[in-house]
């Protein structure tokens, strides 16, 4: 990481008797795209508001561009925010909305106009939108105006508070792509709050997963997906399977056994073990796409489970099966490539298998 533009250490925030943030530390590099992810109420929006200066932290230290932000109001911070509901001024035209911060900085009129037009260009908005009011624009266009309004003052950090949650799926995808392109072109640091880990993985350089006021894991999308710190992070993206195992240290790696599997002990390589592994509820993370139906003999080292097909969903490119395994609370989910003839029907007794060496060992 390059020199950090935001350096938050031990940020605590109390709302009355309720502690919303329990000493959160996070560094964001210059030009980096960081996503804050977590379920609602995890403190991600609170953290963003503290960065923006809308909320004062109860404790901890926040530096932006090397300056202590204690007591610095939102108006004098090098951050700009794109709000969840956009918060475009309904009584101002698009040009007035975008140019509002320039007007406050008393930027010369011709220069302001030039920068507003440049923003419009960057956001692919038509010049004749300048005199329109936000209510006269579509949802996607309003989104672009909100981005333009935030970026026109060339902030050091752009804060995005779930700005795409209200859009339909198709528009969301195209705006996500544009946001990523925009970030690449501008080199401004972006901090995105979202509850959608898939969106975070698509866009961010680094992801900070939060849960009830704590940072659970900070890492690249690859880290988060393939090397999740615990079951919470792993379960946050898509559907996954956890197979409870007993783990014992063995040299560099870990030996695991499961009472449900006859194959016995298997060694998991160190890069397949969560760095924050505890003895509390150790389990193997088995991705649905790594499981197969076993008709004949098992492959060497393969773990087998016997069960019954509970349900299947034909998704087109893939078919999802839910297999009820005796001794497991949750049904095992497996994704198979789609086929004309279904490999198994509901109620059929099946044997499934996966390679434990390709699984990932973690704990609660």
């Amino acid at each position: 990481m390059t020199s950090p533009i935001i350096d938050a250490s031990g940020i605590v925030k109390d709302y009355g008797a309720v502690r919303a943030l329990h000493g959160v530390s996070l560094q964001i590099g210059t030009g980096e795209f960081v996503a804050l992810v977590g379920p609602s109420g995890c403190g991600k929006t609170t953290l963003l508001k503290i960065l923006a200066g809308f909320e004062d932290p109860t404790g901890g230290r926040l530096e932006i561009q090397g300056r202590d932000m204690h007591g610095v109001p939102a108006a004098s911070r090098p951050t700009r925010m794109v709000f969840q509901k956009l918060a475009l001024f309904p009584h101002k035209t698009v040009a007035e909305n975008i140019g509002f911060s320039l007007k406050l900085q008393k930027v010369e009129k011709a220069e302001a106009e030039r920068r507003i037009r440049a923003m419009l260009d960057l956001m692919h908005l038509k010049p004749d939108y300048l005199e329109r009011y936000p209510a006269q624009l579509s949802g996607g266009e309003q989104q672009r105006v909100a981005l333009a309004r935030a970026l026109v003052s060339q902030p050091g950090v752009l804060l995005l508070d779930e700005p795409m949650s209200a859009l339909d799926a198709k528009l969301k995808k195209s705006l996500q792509a544009e946001l990523k392109k925009l970030h690449r072109e501008l080199g401004t640091s972006f901090v995105l709050v979202t509850h959608d880990l898939e969106e975070a993985m698509m866009l961010a350089d680094r992801i900070c997963v939060m849960r009830s006021g704590h940072v659970v894991q900070v890492g690249t999308p690859t880290d988060i997906y393939y090397r999740p710190a615990n079951m919470f992070v792993a379960g946050f993206i898509g559907e996954t399977n956890f197979l409870p195992v007993t783990a014992t240290a063995s040299g560099e790696g870990m030996d695991v056994v499961s009472p449900l599997v006859a194959a016995g002990k298997t060694t998991i390589a160190p890069e397949h073990v969560s760095p924050s592994l505890s003895t509390n509820g150790t389990a193997l993370l088995v991705r649905p796409e790594t499981i197969r139906f076993v008709r004949g003999d098992a492959a060497p080292g393969e773990w087998l489970l016997d069960g019954q097909v509970e349900e299947h969903f034909i998704k087109g490119a893939s078919t999802q099966y839910r297999i009820r395994i005796h001794g497991l609370d949750a049904a095992v989910i497996m994704d198979l490539p789609g086929s004309i003839v279904l490999p198994a029907i509901v109620g059929e007794a099946v044997r499934i298998g996966f390679d434990p060496a390709q699984a990932f060992l973690l704990s609660e």
């Binding site: 923006a52 939102a74 108006a75 951050t79 700009r80 925010m81 509901k85 001024f89």
Partner: protein, 291 residues
């Protein structure tokens, strides 16, 4: 939202609208027309004479006395609008943004005061404004000369009563506008670098315009017809239009004159409202679409 234009041929719609339309025609339009018709008649020995001439209108336009009172009425109404809005705005702002804890209690108190009979409230002011009343008593006790205030039976007394009786209207309309303003808009203004004062003038004030305008219109219309306050607190020293009209009908038993003065008052009020509406629409037409 798109408003669909319904047809006259829709029987259900016609049936639903008909009762209200009939009431409006019978009790508003017909009396208005009768008033207008009345202005072209004359009286002789306190009796109405059907003549169809312009005698009354010539009288109305030739006597400056009537116009002094009309102009005074409009001036008092305008001053009343300014004062009520100036008092109501800070109160509504405090209610909407600051006084979260006692908001309900304060609202209940305002509604109580608002719903108390106007006659009672207006007479109550006599106790305060009288030479030997509460106001002077208080001033005396803080060391100011006794009987310093002499407000009872002056236009100022009338104005105090009018403002007091009408201030709740703009307070509620402005309050309703203010609470509808999204808090994020205020934060967005701060975020863009605006100070609190600047944010107020750039965001809060423009967005509270609908409430400001509707409150102002309510106060203006109601104070054009102010009757009680000039009589009780003004003491009849500087009568307003309603008193003039009452006198024409009751004391002078000159119905055509009363009707003509009524038409003049309605015309002045309507003209001013149309002018205000044109002004307000020009400034809010674009933002109105978002609501």
């Amino acid at each position: 939202m798109r408003i669909e234009r319904k047809s006259w041929n829709d029987p259900v719609l016609v049936a639903t609208v008909a009762p209200l339309a009939l009431v409006m025609v019978a009790f508003l339009l017909v009396p208005l027309l009768m008033t207008a018709v009345l202005t072209f008649q004359t009286t002789q020995y306190y009796r109405l004479v059907w003549t169809w001439d312009l005698k009354i209108w010539t009288e109305v336009f030739s006597k400056p006395h009537y116009w002094t009172i009309m102009i005074r009425t409009v001036a008092m109404a305008l001053v009343c609008v300014v004062l009520t809005v100036l008092i109501a705005f800070p109160a509504a702002y405090a209610l909407a943004t600051r006084l979260r804890t006692f908001k309900t209690q304060i609202q209940i108190l305002i509604i109580f005061a608002f719903l108390t009979d106007a006659v009672l409230k207006t007479f109550g002011w006599i106790l305060i404004l009288d030479k030997n009343g509460v106001a002077n008593w208080l001033l005396m006790h803080v060391g100011l000369p006794p009987e310093m205030l002499n407000l009872l039976f002056t236009p100022a007394g009338t104005m105090i009563g009018m403002v007091y009786n009408l201030v709740a209207y703009p307070m509620f309309t402005i309050y309703l506008s203010l609470v509808r303003i999204d808090r994020d808009l205020i934060l967005a203004a701060y975020d863009a670098g605006a100070s609190r004062v600047r944010t107020f003038f750039e965001v809060t004030l423009p967005l509270s315009r609908p409430g400001l305008y509707s409150g102002a219109v309510l106060v203006f219309v109601l104070s054009l017809g102010a009757f009680l306050e000039p009589k009780v607190l003004g003491g009849g020293t500087s009568p307003l239009a309603s008193e003039l009209i009452r006198q024409s009908f009751e004391t002078r038993v000159n119905w055509p004159l009363g009707a003509a003065l009524t038409v003049v008052l309605i015309a002045i009020g309507a003209l001013m409202l149309v002018a205000c509406a044109a002004f307000a629409l020009r400034r809010t037409s674009a933002t109105g679409r978002s609501a």
